[in-house]
């Protein structure tokens, strides 16, 4: 048993109920609740709000695609104004999760410039579950939500909306390029920067722009967006100031909500190639 993964014998759902007793394989959706981080309609509210900010129409569910780059449903209304600028994503995640912006916060000091804003998120996956571990600069936090965002330059962010009572805009993203899949259920991303956002960051269009902090680390995701199943995401990174960031996100078994926001070119590193 040297493999890092032990494949279960039956692949019918992300989680299954193992009944009391001996070996019995039963499929079915997990009834686990956990700390559900996405409320019903979260994605819709997210894109609606974004659309309002950009003056465009809401992105419709008919744009959702699966594994292939070519949408199975025609991407109508694919206007430029519907693209998600990557640095804005994390702020949107938090602003929608918690609309309160009034409290003060102790932001992590950063010595890096704001993240570049010339890339556009082309795919967004929202995962339902809870953070068993979330540490920002070594300090433990709870999280509100975790999202996977892929941009048109091939960069991937695992964005974590931090449940920080003192900062409703607190978002940290593990960011990297050249993600690789070892197999259908294993995705690994080398982290080269942390994107740190807080309410104290400079704002563009009313939303804070994160600072990019050079970092080294890795994120590993078990599961498969194409099958809309993610079991867990583990991330660990250390920035150039020596601060550590850790994430262990565990899915509650609900299908991943995958949104392809715009069609992107093929990329062998793209886990949805």
């Amino acid at each position: 048993m040297t493999s890092a993964l032990l494949a279960a014998t039956k692949k019918t759902s992300a989680w299954r109920q193992v009944p009391a007793g001996t070996v019995r394989a039963i499929g079915g959706e997990s009834p686990m609740g956990g700390a559900v981080v996405f409320q019903t309609g979260f994605v819709e509210r997210l894109v609606e709000r974004l659309a309002r900010q950009t003056g465009s129409q809401p992105i419709c569910d008919s744009m959702v695609v699966g594994r292939h780059s070519h949408p199975s449903v025609a991407p109508w209304h694919m206007s430029l104004t519907m693209r998600l600028p990557r640095p804005v994503l994390a702020a949107i995640l938090v602003s929608l999760a918690s609309p309160c912006f009034a409290e003060s916060s102790n932001a992590i000091p950063v010595n890096s410039p704001p993240a570049q804003q010339n890339s556009l998120v082309d795919m967004l996956a929202l995962m339902s579950g809870h953070c068993k571990t979330l540490k920002v600069a070594g300090r433990p936090y709870a999280c509100k939500t975790v999202a996977f965002a892929h941009d048109d330059k091939g960069r991937v962010n695992f964005a974590v909306a931090v449940d920080d009572p003192s900062d409703e805009n607190h978002v940290v993203s593990f960011s990297g390029e050249n993600g690789k899949r070892a197999d259908d259920n294993s995705y690994e991303l080398s982290i080269d920067r942390m994107l740190l956002n807080s309410k104290n960051r400079p704002k563009v269009d009313g939303l804070p722009v994160p600072a990019a902090q050079t970092s080294i680390g890795t994120c590993r995701q078990t599961g498969n967006f194409a099958a809309r199943k993610v079991n867990d995401v583990t991330c660990s990174a250390t920035d150039n100031e020596g601060r550590t960031y850790e994430l262990l996100f565990v899915s509650d078994g609900k299908p991943v909500s995958v949104r392809r926001i715009r069609q992107s070119s093929h990329s062998i590193q793209d886990p949805f190639k």
Partner: protein
């Protein structure tokens, strides 16, 4: 003995991982593996510059700041100053309830265990209770315990404490307090998910892909086989000696 040592080292390292982020962990009597896990966390945090961890090992002179034993532990827990603790049970069920009293119909059962002591109290108060039981068998992990020493979930009573995970010789489970059930997180080598199903008497959630429990890396093993077992020898000399001889 090498396999036995490796098994124990995986458990110790897993406990250290489960404790990550806490400030104070208390370890009850006769618990060398949890104690070693707590010591490993403390040593690792010192090396990496993380916030210090206070460990209170009942029965230890060197690694315990209590001067009045369990009384202080209980006070400390009630004040919210203990972040993690370990509980086991002669029986545990899928709802996280534990039985430290005995099997059969109380009080006429044929098997009698030491008793509940403060388990129910600490289960309510300490946020990260790790259920630790080396034996993983259907007689331990039952559909329903014969006697409830400590309930994991009490919807009628607000509480901050409760089970966080279940660690056995074979696997690691997470406990979902909202659902009131366990979910398999990883399986220790060389076991398989099928082994876990066969030896678990209660229902639980199993992911489609089950991870293998992470083995401790070389740095962790060096720390374990050096400083940790040296520290542990003060409270658990036989256990520490066995582990060091096997190394």
């Amino acid at each position: 003995m090498s396999a036995e040592r490796e098994r124990r080292e995986i458990l110790i390292a897993t406990i250290a991982d489960l404790l990550d982020g806490i400030s104070h962990v208390a370890v009850g009597a006769s618990s060398p593996i949890p104690a070693a896990g707590a010591m490993l966390l403390r040593a690792r945090n010192e090396r990496t510059g993380k916030p210090p961890v206070r460990i209170s090992i009942l029965g230890s002179q060197a690694h315990n700041f209590f001067t009045n034993g369990g009384i202080e532990l209980f006070d400390c827990a009630a004040q919210g100053r203990v972040d993690a603790f370990f509980l086991g049970g002669g029986q545990s069920d899928g709802q996280g309830n534990i039985n430290l009293v005995g099997t059969g119909d109380y009080p006429t059962g044929s098997v009698r265990w030491p008793g509940s002591f403060g388990s129910a109290y600490l289960y309510h108060l300490i946020p990260r209770v790790i259920l630790f039981r080396e034996e993983h068998s259907p007689r331990v992990f039952v559909p329903q315990v014969d006697f409830v020493s400590a309930r994991a979930i009490t919807p009628e009573v607000p509480r901050r404490g409760g089970p966080y995970a279940l660690l056995t010789n074979m696997a690691l489970f997470d406990f979902d307090r909202e659902a009131g059930s366990f979910a398999l997180r990883s399986v220790h080598p060389p076991f398989t998910p099928a082994d876990i199903r066969e030896n678990t008497g209660f229902a639980y959630q199993e992911p489609e892909v089950v991870r293998e429990t992470k083995r401790p890396d070389a740095a962790t093993l060096a720390l374990l086989r050096g400083r940790i077992f040296d520290e542990l020898a003060e409270t658990y000399p036989a256990f520490a000696r066995t582990m060091m001889q096997a190394a």
